[in-house]
Symmetry: C2
């Protein structure tokens, strides 16, 4: 035991808390002491919520988003367009896209992107199950909504080739261009180039 902590229980909690992203040892200590100052019930509730989530969370067997049921609410909704599948990296991307209220199709969560540097190959991701969905279903469009990074592009390209045997499926990707609200002067030249090449017809409706 590190003498400083006076209690193995405190030290252990600090060690585990400091594994969280962006939480250093000092912050972990601050969090632990906060929990000690508050009611016992509050600390136990936090610990139990983390354990419950980690032990019992389920993933939709169709789209691999987190779910309360075998098939998630989106995949089982009759109000969603099941012929349009939006491919995303992870769960939080589903939340981001849902928040836009501009998408009414369904999702397919890959669980990451291909990244040889991090030892993540295509087999670690839900790519085969995506191909199966496309092969077996009435899917008309697959929207690739991955990050605009090299890893995202690699994954896009890999999926695009995997879907080549199914020419009835339109494969699209998110538009790349200037961020809404950004000034032209501060937009990098690669993005600006893309924005030019993929310019769209001007309309007077705000979209």
């Amino acid at each position: 035991m590190n003498e400083e902590f006076a209690s193995r229980l405190l030290e252990n909690a600090v060690t585990e808390l400091s594994r969280l992203p962006g939480v250093g040892r000092k912050t972990a200590l601050r969090l632990a002491l906060h929990l000690l100052r508050r009611d016992e019930a509050e600390g136990v509730a936090l610990g139990q919520a983390i354990i419950d989530m980690r032990r019992n969370i389920r993933y939709c067997s169709v789209c691999h988003n987190i779910s309360e049921t075998e098939i998630c609410d989106i995949c089982s909704s009759p109000r969603r367009d099941h012929s349009t599948v939006c491919v995303v990296e992870n769960i939080s991307d589903v939340m981001s896209i849902e928040r836009t209220r501009q998408f009414f199709g369904v999702y397919h969560v890959l669980g990451g992107v291909i990244s040889p540097m991090d030892g993540i190959g295509p087999d670690a991701l839900q790519i085969d199950s995506l191909v199966e969905r496309v092969a077996s279903g009435d899917i008309g469009e697959v929207i690739l909504a991955l990050s605009a990074t090299m890893e995202g592009d690699t994954t896009n390209f890999y999926i695009f080739r995997k879907l080549a045997p199914y020419p009835q499926v339109r494969v699209t990707q998110l538009a790349r261009g200037m961020s809404v609200g950004n000034e032209l002067e501060y937009t990098d030249e690669v993005t600006l180039g893309r924005s030019l090449l993929q310019r769209t017809l001007f309309t007077d409706s705000f979209n």
Copy 2:
């Protein structure tokens, strides 16, 4: 359930995490998703460490610092000076003072300071037990090491009066003055005034 989260388990974890100081709802979601990406064992270990700490932590029956045993390592050490008691607000203050390696006495953790604004009166703090220690023991000096705030000063004064019936005990407080490394120009005038009034004899040893 908030629709955004797709799972009550995730939502619950996010809610509990966002009760931590400095953790907003966005950060809480980031932490929860991080835990979902990592091994189940890591998340369970964090949850369990928090529960264990909150349920089983013990406090020293003498000084009220956290402890593994009935009486903490400091209070039971024969190498510490048991006639000098340093009064601090909370557990982390003990750690701070221990880190200075300048104090060889024992502690008394109040559990806070008197703060009418927050509804904390003297009865909520370990002041009576301090008076008992002084009344029953061979204590020669009580060092008041509270924050240099109005609440700290109030508490200092309260304790000072409570210890008045024991004139054999010297009551001291931490020196207030310029921080080491600070420039005079940027020291506030109250602190500078104190530094002047409480000036010490110059010696050529670095202390």
